[in-house]
């Protein structure tokens, strides 16, 4: 049975799920949801995801939402689960909010006719540099965040890292850090992630 993934392929959280399904070799079909016309806030979408957010999945009659819950469900080969979980939490609580705010301010708000708060972007960037310093130290001890193998902890970073380093124009935060840079080059070259990029094109 093909898993249905509801959401636009260009959005970060659906991409987190698509990357995982591609890594795991799980067949899926994307059902596009148009965020600009607020399709995700309409009464016919809310039964799928009561918070009005993407993605949500449908696997037969099994439904799930929250991208990190979805990837945990499909990635069954979780070795050293605790350390993977730890770095997934780091991504969710220390990394994601900062990048999300920067991307929202720099890319999304102007598209909606609102003004970018450059002061806010700058303060997020400063905080993000400190977070990436911790990653730099971590990645000097292991090839991937949770150890020597690629796990969900690395995968979960892919969508936001891509937005940060390309469209938001903050590649220098990564390229200035040797280990973070090698890690990013490595994980973004994975065939499954390239397929997600292809879907987005």
């Amino acid at each position: 049975m093909v898993v249905k993934v509801f959401g636009p392929v260009a959005a970060a959280c659906p991409q987190r799920v698509l990357a995982c399904l591609l890594e795991m070799g799980v067949d899926f079909e994307v059902v596009h949801i148009d965020l600009e016309s607020r399709e995700h806030k309409r009464p016919d979408f809310l039964p799928r995801q009561p918070f009005g957010q993407v993605p949500t999945i449908e696997d037969g009659d099994f439904r799930l939402y929250e991208s990190r819950a979805i990837i945990r469900y499909y990635a069954t080969n979780l070795e050293d689960k605790a350390v993977v979980d730890q770095w997934l939490e780091v991504e969710a609580h220390n990394f994601n909010d900062l990048v999300y705010t920067m991307v929202l301010q720099l890319l999304v708000l102007p598209r909606m006719g609102d003004r970018t708060d450059f002061g806010l972007v700058q303060s997020c960037a400063i905080k993000l540099e400190k977070v990436l310093d911790v990653y730099e130290q971590r990645l000097s001890k292991s090839t991937y965040l949770a150890g020597d193998a690629f796990t969900l902890a690395d995968l979960s970073h892919l969508p936001a890292m891509r937005y940060l380093t390309t469209e938001a124009g903050y590649m220098h935060l990564v390229s200035e850090r040797k280990n973070v840079n090698s890690w990013w080059v490595n994980i973004s070259a994975r065939p499954a992630w390239k397929k997600v990029m292809h879907l987005m094109a």
């Binding site: 918070f51 689960k81 605790a82």
Partner: protein, 210 residues
């Protein structure tokens, strides 16, 4: 004693871990970290959590940080001790996981902000910002509307039994219940009943020093 928890009794994230350990009946040694003097930013503590945040846990050779990774670790590794906090069936566990994410991404940001404004700032001699309180009460209210719908169909957030999905809410709820924000919970019957139920759990009373 194999487990050490480095944290602070006033820290919501630390309380989350204490709650889990008490539910499982797993003995542990509490190592206090003095936040007031910045001990969480000391080199010694940074070697446990490079982000300089409490709590951190040591179990033999394993060191972990991030409270929700720690609770998940304890609930899985000590699955056969004490109260069951997770589900063996993968689909049931996935639903539980959904609500753990909801707590982290929807409930926690709004409730933490209110805890800070209403409960913690006064303790530090700072002034509550009423505009911020109004903004976040509105946000939390919208989240709790969804909880009300969920809890009218399910006894606990993850399903029929109490799990980590419910437990993770306890620390912020403990701070907010004595404050004016309590009306957000009390005005929603299913949320109110659920909150009263989980806040009365013996393990929580022990964990929160009550």
């Amino acid at each position: 004693m194999t487990i050490k928890v480095h944290g602070s009794p006033v820290s919501t994230a630390s309380m989350r871990v204490f709650a889990c350990l008490h539910e499982k009946g797993v003995p542990f040694e509490f190592v206090p970290v003095n936040l007031a003097v910045g001990e969480h930013k000391s080199e010694a503590f940074l070697s446990l959590n490079p982000f300089g945040q409490v709590p951190a846990l040591q179990d033999g050779d394993l060191t972990l940080f991030e409270s929700r990774a720690i609770t998940n670790y304890i609930a899985h590794v000590y699955a056969d001790s004490g109260n069951q906090l997770i589900c063996k069936d993968p689909k049931k566990m996935a639903i539980c996981s959904v609500w753990m994410e909801v707590e982290a991404h929807q409930f926690d940001p709004a409730s933490s902000k209110l805890t800070w404004e209403l409960c913690l700032k006064p303790l530090f001699g700072m002034t509550t910002d009423d505009a911020v309180v109004a903004e976040f009460e509105a946000k939390l209210g919208k989240v709790l509307d969804i909880y009300e719908a969920r809890l009218s169909k399910s006894k606990y957030l993850g399903g029929d039994s109490f799990t980590l999905a419910d437990l993770h809410h306890l620390p912020n709820m403990k701070y907010l219940m004595p404050s004016k924000a309590a009306q957000l919970f009390n005005s929603r019957p299913h949320v109110s009943a659920w909150a009263a139920d989980i806040l009365a759990r013996p393990a929580w009373l022990k964990a929160s020093g009550q």
